[in-house]
């Protein structure tokens, strides 16, 4: 995550390394929030993947859908929590790191792409990769823009 540094004077940005080093050690309640959110997100993802199985040459709808939904939610949560709501210790770990992180998956996507390549479905592998990245990126962008639009007009 690359947080903005609102406190730093203009033209003299706080060095990112220094900002990273000052991060507090995770407290137990923060870890508990991540655990709880991650459990919920993982359950939803695992449930969908069991409900929508796919062959190596079929479109992995379960992974595609959870990744796009998680990206949209994360863009919404992070923008709202960083730019709109007062500082809260546990919403970001619960909703962002926990729910969205547990709901989305990178490793499953990579293994799916590998299986498509092995099955010589190169077009599918490229299409699936590009579609996931483009739609996932667009979902973050759209959710971020939606939150900011509300702030400006409020």
């Amino acid at each position: 995550m690359a947080p903005a540094v609102p406190g730093s004077p203009a033209g003299e940005p706080m060095p990112r390394r220094a900002a990273a080093r000052r991060l507090p050690k995770p407290d137990r309640r923060e870890l508990a929030a991540i655990f709880a959110g991650g459990a919920v997100g993982t359950l939803a993802r695992a449930g969908l993947s069991e409900a929508l199985p796919h062959t190596p040459t079929g479109w992995p709808w379960a992974t595609f859908v959870v990744n796009i939904v998680a990206a949209a939610l994360l863009g919404y949560f992070v923008t709202r929590l960083q730019e709109r709501l007062p500082l809260s210790s546990y919403r970001r770990p619960l909703l962002g790191t926990g729910v969205c992180g547990g709901l989305s998956t990178f490793s499953t996507m990579q293994v799916e792409i590998l299986r498509m390549i092995e099955a010589k479905a190169i077009g599918l592998a490229i299409g699936y990769t590009v579609a996931t990245v483009v739609v996932g990126y667009a979902a973050i962008h759209a959710a971020t823009a939606a939150v900011r639009r509300v702030r400006i007009s409020a």
């Binding site: 995550m1 690359a2 459990a39 993802r45 939610l73 770990p93 547990g102 998956t105 990579q110 390549i117």
Partner: protein
């Protein structure tokens, strides 16, 4: 497929998410936040392990618990995309592009490596 297995999915999913947070934090505190190496390390290491599990040809509940729940929750797509989008917002388009391409190339290579190792020791 029963209640115990799904309770396992819930618990393991929570643990995988906490592990992701800790590894990301450890890597980021060493490399700084200019480039999202933390997420990259998490995702590539997860791709190796899931490739390994695929090579071992786990099936049924074992695949669900070890693969979908554990490694699936440890790795993240949403944070990878968020960090890429935020880099672009900061006009660091080159870094964002490198983050996306490097993750994909290394990710598939890592999964292939893990799968080959898994198939060899099966």
């Amino acid at each position: 497929m029963n209640v115990l297995v799904w309770a396992g999915v819930v618990l393991i999913g929570g643990v995988g998410s906490v592990l992701r947070f800790l590894v990301d934090g450890m890597v980021s505190s060493r490399t700084g936040r200019a480039f999202p190496y933390g997420t990259l390390v998490v995702n590539i290491s997860g791709a190796v392990v899931l490739g390994l599990l695929t090579g071992l040809a786990l099936s049924g509940d074992a695949a669900l618990l070890a693969g979908t729940a554990a490694v699936g929750s440890y790795t993240t797509f949403s944070t990878w995309m968020l960090e890429s989008q935020r880099l672009t917002e900061e006009r660091q388009v080159g870094k964002a592009g490198r983050n996306i391409v490097a993750s994909l190339v290394l990710g598939v290579a890592a999964a292939a490596l893990g799968q080959a190792v898994g198939a060899a020791i099966r």
